[in-house]
């Protein structure tokens, strides 16, 4: 090596030549519409003209789709449409509530760490290094087995797990704005740190945080699905998508529809959340660098 090359480490980022439209597009609204539909159905499940998702023996088992049972019935003669809709309650509650918790706690941590730096920043960094190396599923399995398999504990466990990754992203986004001119201007006008954080930085960080949290909700729905697939989420007979997929997995050869419907519902919801989040991130021009 004859000459010392002092170079930038990463290759220079060049913008994609693809024209990025600043419009959300039809597919975005279809995704949002699907999520809205699932949420409304879950909320109104008790009022909708659905059969009892728990009643065993009212109907013949393993009926194909018909006018009376739009999606058919399962091994125990329970109406699959009712079970899929009631099952969405678990997934949606866990998904949205745990991320709301993660955003509140992790968001505050990330804002403070990104703005003040120093000890808070170092503590956050250390915490997330350990948490990232710790296999999340082992943590989930042990904690959920210990706390009990109910909606609140599953939600809180997943919420706590989401704190570190959310804090990291909010921190990175805060760093982008912490030294911008308008922050400097606010400080020069005599604004206190708290006011700068809440009135100047938060409104700028919030849009990308919301876009990211849609994707995070999808991740949590998958995690809850995995837990209930293993029989470790909310106890049966309460229907859950993961639990229904596991039940259907036992009778794949005889009746693949039992596993198909909850799988389709889960896939469509996760896909819609991912897509909407992805589009919003492009729309808000999230800066992913500097993590």
């Amino acid at each position: 090596m004859t000459e010392a090359v002092v170079a930038t480490v990463a290759p220079a980022a060049v913008a994609e030549p693809v024209f990025v439209e600043r419009r959300l597009g039809v597919a975005f609204w279809v995704s949002i519409g699907w999520v809205a539909l699932v949420v409304v159905a879950a909320v109104l499940a008790g009022v909708l003209p659905l059969q009892d998702p728990l009643a065993i023996g009212d109907n013949a088992p393993r009926l194909g789709p018909s006018a009376a049972h739009l999606l058919g019935t399962d091994e125990l003669g329970r109406d699959l449409l009712a079970r899929v809709i009631f099952g969405s309650r678990t997934s949606l509650t866990v998904g949205f509530a745990s991320i709301a918790f993660g955003l509140a706690v992790g968001g505050a941590m990330g804002l403070v760490a990104g703005y003040y730096g120093g000890r808070m920043d170092a503590a956050l960094n250390g915490l997330s290094t350990v948490l990232l190396a710790f296999p999340a599923l082992i943590f989930l399995l042990t904690v959920v087995t210990f706390l009990g398999q109910n909606l609140f504990d599953v939600t809180m466990t997943l919420g706590v797990l989401s704190v570190a990754p959310i804090a990291r992203i909010i921190r990175a986004n805060t760093l982008v704005y912490a030294n911008r001119e308008f922050v400097l201007a606010a400080r020069a006008l005599g604004a206190r740190n708290r006011r700068i954080l809440v009135r100047e930085i938060l409104p700028n960080v919030l849009p990308s945080a919301l876009a990211f949290s849609l994707v995070a909700v999808a991740v949590v729905i998958v995690a809850e699905g995995a837990l209930s697939f293993l029989g470790l989420s909310v106890r049966p007979p309460t229907p859950t998508w993961g639990g229904m997929i596991a039940e259907g997995g036992q009778v794949l050869a005889q009746d693949p529809l039992v596993a198909l419907w909850p799988s389709v519902a889960m896939f469509a919801t996760v896909l819609a959340l991912n897509f909407a989040g992805d589009r919003l991130q492009v729309y808000f021009q999230v800066r992913e660098g500097g993590l």
């Binding site: 090596m1 290759p11 190396a133 710790f134 296999p135 599923l137 042990t142 904690v143 995995a226």
Partner: protein, 317 residues
């Protein structure tokens, strides 16, 4: 050198933290290995005797330090349930998990690299849209749903591969591959979607750089430019993401191993959690965390081979 020392120190801290947390966490669980061993009908005397025999009457933190002391000397203890040394069970299970990991990553890269390159060559055209759409869809399929789908298609409808079970490599290499095909494809498709996306993005950026224009103006054939000039500098994110992914998969293949009953580390861990076999779970957790940190260290070293500028920048500092 200082870089390596710092990373190794970080490794030690992470391992101690992870082992302490998992050991103490597991000990908080209701139930214990004595009940697993003796069954619910055991007399209180028998329970008491076995508790003392296994040393479970001592407080959890004391047992943790005893375990840590032994672990530092290469003794991870024995399972409470079948008395097999933990090191032996890990020695049996680890190769299975690693074989599954290697197969799945081979499948992922074999699909992702050509698709990524071809998509980047003509962005927003048919192939690119198709590949990007498929990978976005694949990213939204939870692993256990993909597993059930593959089982239904290739084990139930067309009896091509076994739905569960594992044949050891030394028994029958062909059956061994057959038994690992479905789990490896399940894991591989998930990884492929991520790899293709990042390679495509980096490749598009590389193809706009001056040295590519230079190579074109020399009249070099397109395939030569793509493979010999553009591919290597475009693999930075791929290597990073791949490292993270492999690190996660060392332990993250739990559900896939459970569904297909592949006797790897994941299945061992799940079964040991159910049996409250503390020492086994702590050991596998530590192993998985160590694997995660080491793989990421390896990724940092690979960078220096991908781009000499990283090497000189690091030596300069």
């Amino acid at each position: 050198m200082r870089f390596l020392a710092a990373r190794l120190a970080q490794l030690v801290v992470v391992l101690v933290a992870v082992s302490a947390v998992s050991f103490l966490l597991l000990n908080q669980l209701p139930g214990n290995p004595v009940i697993t061993l003796l069954g619910p009908a055991a007399t209180p005397e028998a329970v008491h005797q076995l508790t003392i025999q296994l040393g479970l009457d001592r407080p959890a933190w004391l047992r943790y330090f005893i375990w840590l002391g032994n672990a530092l000397q290469g003794n991870l203890g024995s399972s409470y349930v079948n008395h097999q040394p933990v090191l032996t069970s890990i020695g049996q299970r680890l190769p299975v998990t690693l074989e599954l990991l290697v197969l799945s990553q081979l499948i992922a890269l074999a699909l992702a690299i050509p698709l990524g390159i071809l998509s980047a060559l003509r962005p927003s055209r048919m192939l690119d849209r198709l590949a990007s759409g498929t990978s976005f869809g694949l990213l939204s399929v939870p692993g256990f749903i993909l597993a059930e789908l593959l089982v239904y298609l290739f084990a139930v409808r067309f009896n091509l591969f076994p739905a569960t079970g594992y044949v050891h490599l030394t028994e029958d290499p062909f059956e061994n591959l057959r038994s690992l095909t479905l789990p490896a494809v399940t894991l591989g498709l998930g990884s492929m979607a991520v790899y293709m996306r990042v390679l495509r993005t980096d490749m598009i950026a590389t193809l706009q750089q001056d040295f590519i224009t230079m190579a074109r103006s020399k009249g070099l054939p397109t395939w030569w430019i793509l493979l010999r000039h553009a591919l290597r500098p475009s693999t930075f994110t791929l290597v990073t993401v791949g490292g993270l992914n492999v690190g996660t998969l060392i332990g993250g293949a739990f559900i896939i191993e459970y569904i297909f009953q592949v006797p790897g580390l994941g299945l061992l861990t799940i079964n040991s959690i159910y049996a409250r076999d503390y020492l086994v779970v702590t050991s596998t957790t530590v192993l998985v965390a160590a694997g995660f940190v080491l793989v990421n260290l390896l990724v940092d070293i690979i960078y220096t081979f991908l781009d000499p500028r990283v090497r000189s920048a690091r030596f300069a500092s």
